[in-house]
Each structure stands twice: as structure tokens, then as C-alpha cells.
């Protein structure tokens, strides 16, 4: 997995061969990126890189899988993601929509928490 070492800058795309990343007029809305700030809750490990540039069309589930792998959670651990520390967005929710509704200061803050398996 390629990862940028620069934690603070938006991650530039590396595999988009046919689309110039900077020309937003030719990219679909889904490909536009929004800034996401990930904050750990409770005993959950803190991600070394907290700020990520995420395509609007990315779902919460996809982001959750990414964080889980990044944190090397084992199969029995469930990751929960919260918006406004008040509700959990649906796994199918696009982050772009969440950003539009709940973003502030140009970023969407998501809190995440790991928990042992249900039951």
C-alpha cells in the first residue's frame, strides 16, 4: 500500500492515468476530494496520519475498511465511525455528502472507535 509520509498535505493521486488530477472540470463530482480528519476515541489506536484527502464518492464502509487495515484490527474487532460525535453514518453513505452537511472549516471530522465483536 502506497502511503504518503507527509501527513499534512492532501494525498495526490498516483494511478489516475487518464485524468489530470488538477483539472476539476473534467473530473466527475465523485472524484473531487474532501479533507477528512480522523480522531480516535477511547482505547482505539491513534492513526499516525490523521488528515486524509478522500474522494467524495468514497463510502463510509470503504473508509472504515481502510482504517481497520491501517490499524491492523483483527477479524473480531469492529470499527465504529461517528459524525459530530453524535451518530454513525450508514456504511453506504458517501463522504462527500457528509462533508456537505457536517463539514466545517473545510474538513469533515470523523471520530472512530474500535470495539470487540458484537455479542
Amino acid at each position: 500500500m502506497k502511503m504518503s509520509d507527509n501527513a499534512e498535505s492532501p494525498i495526490e493521486t498516483q494511478k489516475e492515468e487518464s485524468q489530470p488530477p488538477s483539472d476539476e472540470s473534467t473530473t466527475t463530482d465523485d472524484k473531487k476530494k474532501i479533507d477528512v480528519l480522523l480522531k480516535a476515541v477511547g482505547n482505539t489506536p491513534i492513526m499516525k496520519t490523521k488528515k486524509w484527502a478522500v474522494e467524495r464518492g468514497r463510502t463510509i464502509q470503504s473508509l472504515s475498511q481502510f482504517i481497520s487495515r491501517f490499524l491492523k484490527l483483527d477479524g473480531s474487532e469492529q470499527l465504529f465511525i461517528y459524525v459530530n460525535q453524535s451518530f454513525a453514518p450508514s456504511p453506504d453513505q458517501d463522504v462527500g455528502v457528509l462533508f456537505d452537511c457536517f463539514g466545517s472549516d473545510g474538513k469533515l471530522i470523523l471520530h472512530y472507535c474500535k470495539s470487540q465483536a458484537w455479542g
Binding site: 504518503s4 463530482d29 481502510f66 465504529f80 453506504d92 463539514g103 458484537w118
Partner: protein, 250 residues
């Protein structure tokens, strides 16, 4: 930690608030009272398509830009892995690009061969005194009126949760007798509720702002079993696509 439990009176109060919002949003919840008492439960029915289709069951969630969700049928071997191809544009972002692992599709699973296209789900939210938490009961029928088996229900659990739920030592979804109706319903076990509610409640306490326990809880458990909780429950005000503008305090 007493902040993470929900007593019955607060449960009813939260349900009432949720109900009011549901009416504003035409989301379909109703309060079913037990005759002669204040006790009752929230109820909602929903139709849930299970055939392979480009549109996901996203009623009210506001997410209509999603990629096609190919149906992850149980006997579909090639469907199990790499269902993120529709999000392959995202493979371009080096930050979150794990297409090589089993990114399960978030489509709704078919129940069985030759089954009907649409299932009728019925969801009940009850209060459990012993867990001091809300509990989700549900049942589902095909259009022909056949009720779903536990296996079929498991296969329709959202892929985001399915693996973990199934790996837990106790069955998380079990067939139970409905405490008030006495009929068989599936139930999502409440024993982890406090755990996933804690971050929400602690933050609310620290920031001195109210939170609707039932709504927050529902936003977590609902999607597990195909119950969508529209974003609008949580937005006081959703700005007209103005990135960068602050919509919520804190």
C-alpha cells in the same frame, strides 16, 4: 458508567422525539402502545429490494451518487472479492486504495434462488430493562408471505458488519419471542450497546449538549440489518452544498 444506560422513561422521551422527526421526514415510524400502559415500542415497516440492481436501497439517506452495487448472492463466488471495482477511481488515491483485499460490496444480498424481488421488513424498537438499552427486533417476509429464516437474515446483514457479527462467540442475531407480542422476531443482541454508545454519550456530556440516545443507537444498529436512518435526522440545517461552512456547533 451511568451515562451510557437508558432507563425506560428516557427511552420513551427519546422515542417521542424521534417520532416527531420521523413525521417531519415521512420516515414511517409509529408508536405502538401496550394497551393500558405507557409501555410501547417504535415500529416501522420497509420494503427492501434484494435483486441485483444498480440502485442501492438508499431511501432518504441522501446518497445517490453511489456506484452500482452488484448483489452479493451467497452462492456467487466471484462476487465475494473485489466488489470495489466501481470505486476503482478511488484506487487512484494512494491513501485509501485497498482494492486487492476483499472489499465486500455493500449491496443487499439475494435471499435465495427464485425468491421474490422485494422483502417486507418490520422493525421494532423496544426497551430492555435488564440491559437498560434499546433493542432492535425485526422480521422479514417475502412478497408471498414466507418469513425469512435465520440463515437468510444473516446473508442479508450488511457486509460491513457481517464478518464481525458472525465471528462473535454468541450469536448476535437470534430468533426470540417478542416481549410484548409473543411472536417470533429476530433480535439484535444489546450487550454491546453500551460500548458503542459510550463515545457518543461521553462527548455529549463533556460538551454539554443533548443527544438522542435512541437515534444515535439506531444509526449504528439500523444499517446492520438494512434499516436506513436518513441523515436529516441528524442535521438541524443542511446547507446547500457549501463546503467549508460550519453547520454544527463544535
Amino acid at each position: 458508567m451511568s451515562c451510557c444506560v437508558l432507563e425506560e422513561e428516557d427511552f420513551r422521551r427519546c422515542c417521542l422525539l424521534l417520532l416527531q422527526r420521523s413525521e417531519q421526514l415521512s420516515d414511517g415510524w409509529s408508536w405502538e402502545a401496550v394497551q393500558g400502559s405507557e409501555e410501547g415500542y417504535l415500529r416501522k415497516t420497509a420494503l427492501r429490494p434484494v435483486a441485483p440492481s444498480p440502485a442501492r436501497d438508499q431511501t432518504g439517506s441522501g446518497s445517490d451518487s453511489g456506484p452500482p452495487a452488484s448483489c452479493q448472492s451467497c452462492p456467487d463466488p466471484q462476487g465475494q472479492e473485489k466488489e470495489e471495482e466501481e470505486e476503482s477511481g478511488l484506487g487512484a488515491s494512494s491513501d485509501i486504495a485497498e482494492d486487492d483485499e476483499e472489499d465486500e460490496d455493500d449491496g443487499v444480498c439475494t435471499v435465495s434462488e427464485g425468491s421474490s424481488q422485494v422483502l417486507q421488513y418490520e422493525y421494532h424498537i423496544l426497551h430492555s430493562c435488564s440491559y437498560a438499552a434499546p433493542v432492535l427486533y425485526f422480521r422479514a417476509f417475502t412478497q408471498e408471505g414466507r418469513s425469512l429464516s435465520l440463515e437468510e437474515v444473516w446473508s442479508s446483514v450488511h457486509p460491513n458488519f457481517r464478518l464481525r457479527l458472525q465471528s462473535s462467540p454468541l450469536n448476535t442475531i437470534t430468533l426470540q419471542e417478542h416481549p410484548l407480542l409473543g411472536q417470533p422476531f429476530f433480535m439484535l443482541h444489546p450487550c454491546r450497546t453500551e460500548e458503542f454508545m459510550r463515545p457518543v454519550l461521553q462527548a455529549a456530556q463533556e460538551q454539554h449538549r443533548p443527544v438522542n440516545y435512541v437515534l444515535s443507537w439506531l444509526s449504528v444498529v439500523g444499517p446492520v440489518v438494512g434499516l436506513d436512518v436518513p441523515l436529516k435526522y441528524s442535521t438541524q440545517l443542511c446547507p446547500a452544498a457549501a463546503p467549508g461552512s460550519s453547520t454544527q456547533p463544535g
